[in-house]
């Protein structure tokens, strides 16, 4: 038996110099992607990394795999073509909040609805960086940017809600600086069969510096976020002294030992539950509640690319015709003799 090749992160790097701004959150994510790929053990030439346009979409150039840096908003559609033509490939989509949710919104929701086996990494910095600072579809209402000098008058998308609204089966959220967990979550996303969306809250050091600081700040992170793991209690806080409970039809953050709540009252995270009601509530937490990180939803279902293959196999099992000539000759024909 052949011994499996053991890959390390640097097998997925190439010699191109990375051109993101110093301090950009994308650097950390790139490193985590290299690590996740090594963890998966897929050889670099069986990986295709597809991107659209924007800062984060430069990522394929920094990979040692096959890569395609395409056009604005179309990465999900092009990746759908790659994966459907070649289900054997490991296909990633690198995209930003503008690329994925504004100009590419349609392809994004349809890729999710179809459940194409893509690993979509959504770099969310809530701003257009490459065009130098206009608001994006995830910018908070009222934010002042170069194209909203008096503040925006529109509500943002929440990627978790949009993903599940499009009937997505895998959604995870990460913070760029949380290196410890990033590679682990990306690996789970890649192992998931079907469309997986990993939203990474990244900092744009130039045009939107500190946009996620409220969450990413080390001093407050444990209080303001909760990292979810399938099968584990939903605990957070500096000493894991807080947790999430169900209060009527709503979620509530409580402190164990206060108001009569005990550890037994704290919910256990079930990422595999088909009913997405609770996942949606977890994805929408914020404000008084900690923002959910980690894998929020991870449900198995047949992927589109596999379903296309299966349908071909089913038809072929019943129909022996394999060439154009055989097909035409089996139709309505007549012969003219010489």
């Amino acid at each position: 038996m052949e011994e499996a090749i053991k890959y390390v992160a640097k097998d997925y790097k190439n010699d191109q110099s990375v051109r993101w701004c110093p301090g950009c959150g994308d650097h950390a994510v790139l490193n985590s992607i290299h690590k996740a790929m090594a963890e998966l053990g897929v050889c670099p030439h069986d990986i295709a990394v597809i991107s659209g346009i924007g800062c984060s979409s430069r990522l394929p150039y920094y990979m040692n795999s096959y890569g395609f840096h395409t056009i604005h908003g179309r990465a999900a559609a092009i990746a759908t073509g790659v994966k459907t033509a070649r289900p054997d490939l490991n296909v990633w989509v690198m995209t930003g909040d503008g690329d994925c949710l504004a100009i590419g919104g349609n392809h994004f929701i349809h890729a999710i609805r179809r459940n194409v086996d893509l690993n979509i990494v959504l770099f969310n910095n809530k701003i257009y960086g490459l065009t130098k600072g206009q608001y994006s579809p995830t910018s908070d209402r009222g934010v002042v940017t170069k194209s909203s000098p008096y503040g925006t008058v529109e509500e943002p998308f929440i990627p978790a809600e949009l993903t599940m609204g499009a009937r997505g089966n895998f959604f995870a959220r990460l913070i760029d600086v949380d290196l410890k967990n990033t590679a682990e979550v990306l690996t789970l996303a890649a192992k998931h069969k079907g469309a997986s969306v990993v939203e990474v809250l990244v900092n744009c050091v130039i045009f939107n510096d500190g946009i996620h600081k409220y969450l990413s700040d080390k001093a407050n992170r444990a209080e303001r976020t909760i990292f979810l793991r399938h099968g584990e209690k939903m605990l957070f806080g500096n000493n894991n002294e807080k947790g999430i409970v169900l209060d009527g039809l709503k979620l509530k953050a409580v402190t164990i030992g206060e108001d009569g709540y005990t550890l037994d009252d704290i919910l256990v995270h079930d990422a595999h539950e088909k009913d997405m009601t609770l996942h949606m509530m977890l994805g929408l937490m914020g404000g008084d509640m900690p923002v959910a990180l980690g894998v929020i939803r991870d449900v198995e279902a047949e992927s589109y690319d596999q379903a296309v293959e299966n349908q071909i196999k089913e038809v072929q099992a019943k129909n022996p015709v394999r060439t154009l000539n055989e097909y035409l000759m089996s139709g309505e024909i007549w012969e003219v003799k010489g």
Binding site: Y61, I71, A77, V82, N106, H110, E332
Partner: protein, 617 residues
Amino acid sequence: MAEKTKITTLDKVVVRFSGDSGDGMQLSGTIFSNLSAILGNEISTFPDFPAEIRAPQGTLSGVSGFQVHLGSRKVLTPGDKADVLVAMNPAALKVNVKFLKPGTIVIIDTDSFQKSDLDKALFQTDDPFAELGLTNVQVVAAPITSMVKEGLAEFGLDNKSAVRSKNMFALGLVCWLFERPMEGAIHMLENKFSKKPTIAKANIKALTDGYNYGNNIHAQVSTYRIECMKCEPGFYTDVNGNKATSYGLIAAAEKAGLKLFLGSYPITPATDILQELSARKELGVKGLQFEDEIAGICTAIGASFAGALGATSTSGPGLALKSEAIGLAVIAELPLVVVDVQRGGPSTGLPTKSEQTDLLQALYGRNGESPVVVIAASTPTDCFDAAFWAGKLAVEHMTPVILLTDSYIANGSSAWRIPDLDKYPEIKPPYADQYAGDKPWKAYRRDAETLSRYWAVPGMEGFAHRIGGLEKDYETSAISTEPLNHQKMVDTRQAKIDKIANYIPDLEVLGDQDAELLIVGWGGTYGHLYEAMEMMQENGKKVAFAHFKFINPLPKNTAEVLKRYKKVVVAEQNKGQFATYLRSKVTGLNPYQFNRVKGQPFVVGRLVEEFTKLLEA
């Protein structure tokens, strides 16, 4: 047989079936044309339907037609005017008046020529024929609806279902007129309604009743005999342009050893291609519908990147939506076939009608210097060859190819000899492992002859690479904004397309080589222009005809051929797009133009008139 009936032998005849869009005229027409083709007639057909699925019954806007041109010799168009018209209601008669000849046989259903029917078609009197000035036609007036109801009483069908078979009664009458044996038609109906035996039997009964009615009434009209012509031996089938296009793409993929992937979105009149290829699962074709036109082409580009033959099908408005993605395939240098079944424009325009108005869009409708190959199919069956060529050039030269067909040839059909693919040229994908240069392989290393880059398909070890929409360095294939490099890459992409002229056939001149006038056309007008040339020759005129299938690049001998003739007339269904293009490509050429943009095919008689005037000027 009716003794009194006189039989006229003709070499060509045009039959038009016309009625409400729900009357089943397309089915009657299709069966009649297939029957005739099987008997060895040359056929060319054209359906003419309203844009609305079901316009108000009996009104002028709801008329749907199907025209069949049969001949004992080469038939290339559905014909200008009808020798036989089936008019199922007064609206159909009125709409088709302009298509009648002196002496045309008009078959009408008297049951639907009542006062209320005449009102719906806006007739003022109760004699539609007099009102339309039709004094010189042979009318076969039959109470078709009531005879069908009576004839089908035994089947216990409800009134609506029974009446639906009146198209078969009309077909039976036409079959009698043309001495078509019933067996073939019966067989076709049995196949068509194999899952609904009662409906099959009812249709067959109505068909036979119609035939017998013609035979029994001793109608004082001519019946026609079209002699059969000597076709090239082989197996034949009936094919329309959209089917032939689909088959051409399958054939190209088979020849190249590639999987065919079609990403598409429904759009009239191209939808049939998506439907045909989505049904060919047994051949392993991935013909798939996506969320929009852009996704259609983008999935196809993704499939090509992954090593399949990527294709997409659309019509003019969809081509506009795809233009940015075509630019991506230009700079990424990936094989891609974009089929544009042209229709009337601009905007939504005339979705069910035919034009040649997308030529300049295909040639130039993108940002930046982004040359692509443009090919145009000339007849329904030529769509097969044109699609095959599109696939071959796309793969061997790593480029997007736009294949232009049009609504007229896409829906028109004719008998087609099933091709022997062994006789078609090889298609050899330029895979990266064939690169034999001295320098290490890079994504944009090129073949010295074709200037094509090599195709490295994911999964090939040692060839992992990154490509994309940003300009790349000629040597290293890394991103580059260097001015001289950009100039070199722009020039190279153009030269790559120009060099394809070395791999396509020369332009052919038909007719009188030493004529004074050369008729020039491209795409779906071939049949009309060819028949115009033939008719002029029959009138004793010397005339030549050159028809373009390869638009970009043009065949190498183009300038030489065009400059050989004293007068050149470019005839096309737009405001002069090809003429403009030729002027820009052939120095000193200043052709006459014949341009019509009516959404309808050319009229051969009109072409002959205009060209004769030019010749004699």
